[in-house]
């Protein structure tokens, strides 16, 4: 049996995740997870609020996520540890909140991974249909998507996120190509906004109902902080990668809305599965269709890839602190990845994808609500963070402006999205709340006794103010 020192090879007796990432990888992780929402999903907001309602949702939720990105950047620039918001909650609020936030993260990313595998397989099926084979079974392609990406994640984070950077950049470039192919600066030539736009079809209540689907434009950008333990400089890379990612997404979301809503009526767009691919069919020849097909496929793969990365880091961190069985806190001695966490989450994603591949909205809905619970926590987390560790008491790589208004605005925006979700998916909202309440009871009465209460805090932070 190899000794610890021999295996580490660097004179240390501890394993750690490999610190090899830079701001580009952080950007690739955040934008990679999210960009698929521009290719499919965001457009369901038109079914509730029409074109204007979708734009309101795009910018309203854009503001929500800007608050999320700023808060996340500040806190993560001080917490150079995997686990992201779970680790933040552990240090700043307490174990029950940390457990819940960790669970939100794992569920949100695993469900999103399953959804992306379904989208990728559906695309392959539609391509097969165009070649004359309409009866293709999507299941083997769902499983293949998860298998290949999990294997990539297992083998190392640098290659995983470098691949993510390349395919995400290609997917983003596809949106830019589509934008310039519709003569965007000559209204009425290709884009028919004046003819297609109507008032809010269901009034303001419809615009509020559209908010839930506006989440698709940005869902997952907060995942950048899962890379904190693997970046060379957390204080620099996380804020730079996250904020540049958020700017990229605001641009992509606005361009997507502008092009699609100028080409198709809201009644069609509100129920389309591949709106940008449909836009390419309407405007261009085979080349543009091929570009959008590749863009959609790459966006789905990049998202699934990033989700495997993030879900496994959350699960790994919870295992390391014994919030979950310690066995999951292992690091691969050669690849330096949380390999057991990656392996454990594979069958969960596969089962969800295979059981619910005809109910994409359900899987995505679970993911969105888990994410939303996490954002709600962030506003409380930020207030407490500034109170316990005021500016100057701890080194911050980034200090976000307008505190406490950012946290207050985030909380108000989240409340409106809960209301929007309740309007359309009240059963799902209540089911998910019940799930997390039951999980919390399990943690409080059973699991907490295994937690490493003192050992879990290894960050070199000063004592909080007032303690």
């Amino acid at each position: 049996m190899t000794t610890a020192t021999q295996a580490a090879g660097g004179g240390t007796d501890r394993l750690s995740l490999r610190k090899v990432l830079g701001p580009v990888h952080v950007w690739a992780l955040g934008v990679g997870i999210v960009l698929v929402g521009e290719f499919t999903g965001w457009n369901f907001s038109l079914a509730k609020g029409g074109a204007w309602g979708a734009l309101i949702a795009c910018w309203y939720i854009g503001l929500l996520y800007t608050c999320v990105a700023m808060i996340d950047s500040e806190v993560t620039s001080t917490v150079a540890a995997a686990g992201g918001q779970y680790t933040q909650a552990k240090h700043i609020i307490g174990p029950l909140m940390a457990f819940n936030v960790g669970l939100y993260l794992v569920m949100a990313y695993t469900m999103l991974e399953a959804s992306n595998a379904i989208v990728a397989a559906d695309l392959i099926k539609s391509f097969a249909g165009e070649t004359g084979y309409a009866d293709l079974d999507v299941k083997p392609f769902i499983v293949l998507t998860i298998a290949v990406l999990a294997w990539l994640n297992y083998r190392g984070v640098y290659a995983t996120l470098t691949v993510n950077f390349v395919i995400t950049a290609i997917a983003f470039a596809a949106i830019i190509v589509l934008f310039f192919s519709v003569s965007p600066f000559q209204p009425g030539k290709v884009l028919l906004h004046k003819e297609l736009f109507t008032d809010l079809p269901y009034g303001w209540i419809g615009a509020i109902g559209a908010l839930q689907f506006g989440m698709w434009y940005y869902l997952g950008i907060e995942g950048t902080c899962q890379a904190a333990e693997e970046v060379r400089s957390a204080g620099r890379s996380i804020p730079l990668g996250t904020m540049s990612g958020m700017i990229t997404l605001l641009i992509a979301a606005s361009l997507t809305w502008y092009v699609a809503s100028g080409l198709m009526p809201w009644q069609y767009l509100g129920q389309a599965y591949t709106p940008l691919y449909d836009a390419a069919k309407l405007t261009g020849g085979g080349a543009l269709q091929a570009i959008m097909f590749v863009g959609t496929l790459f966006a789905a793969l990049a998202s699934a890839n990033g989700c495997i990365n993030d879900a496994s880091r959350s699960w790994f961190s919870m295992g390391r602190d014994r919030y979950m069985p310690e066995w999951f806190g292992a690091v691969h001695p050669r690849y330096r990845t949380p390999y057991r966490a990656i392996l454990f989450l594979i069958p969960i994603a596969v089962v969800f994808a295979l059981l619910f591949y005809t109910r994409l909205d359900l899987v995505i809905g679970f993911s969105i609500l888990s994410g939303l619970l996490g954002y709600t926590f962030m506003s409380f987390n930020m207030m407490r963070f500034r109170k316990l560790w005021p500016l100057g008491s701890i080194h911050r790589g980034y200090v976000h402006p307008f505190h406490p208004w950012t946290a207050i605005i985030l909380l108000v925006l989240c409340a409106a999205v809960y209301f929007a979700t309740y309007l359309g998916y009240s059963d799902m909202l209540l089911s998910i709340m019940a799930f997390y309440i039951v999980a919390s009871l399990w943690f409080a009465f059973h699991r907490y006794k295994f937690v490493k209460r003192g050992d879990q805090f290894t960050m070199p932070w000063p004592r909080p103010k007032g303690y």
């Binding site: 750690s16 083997p140 293949l144 298998a147 690091v331 390999y339 594979i346």
Partner: protein, 46 residues
């Protein structure tokens, strides 16, 4: 046999091989290294 049917079989086979490889590797690592070492990482360590 249709090319898409062949691709479906190939997808199953590649998936099984990849899952199998990861499981075998994880088992080999578990045998080769001590459990304390595999779980020795600490948050925030350089």
């Amino acid at each position: 046999m249709n090319i898409w049917v062949l691709l479906s079989y190939a997808a199953w086979i590649i998936s099984i091989l990849l899952f199998g490889w990861m499981i075998m590797d994880a088992m080999a690592v578990g045998k080769q290294y001590q459990e304390d070492f595999l779980m020795s990482s600490r948050e925030g360590e350089e």
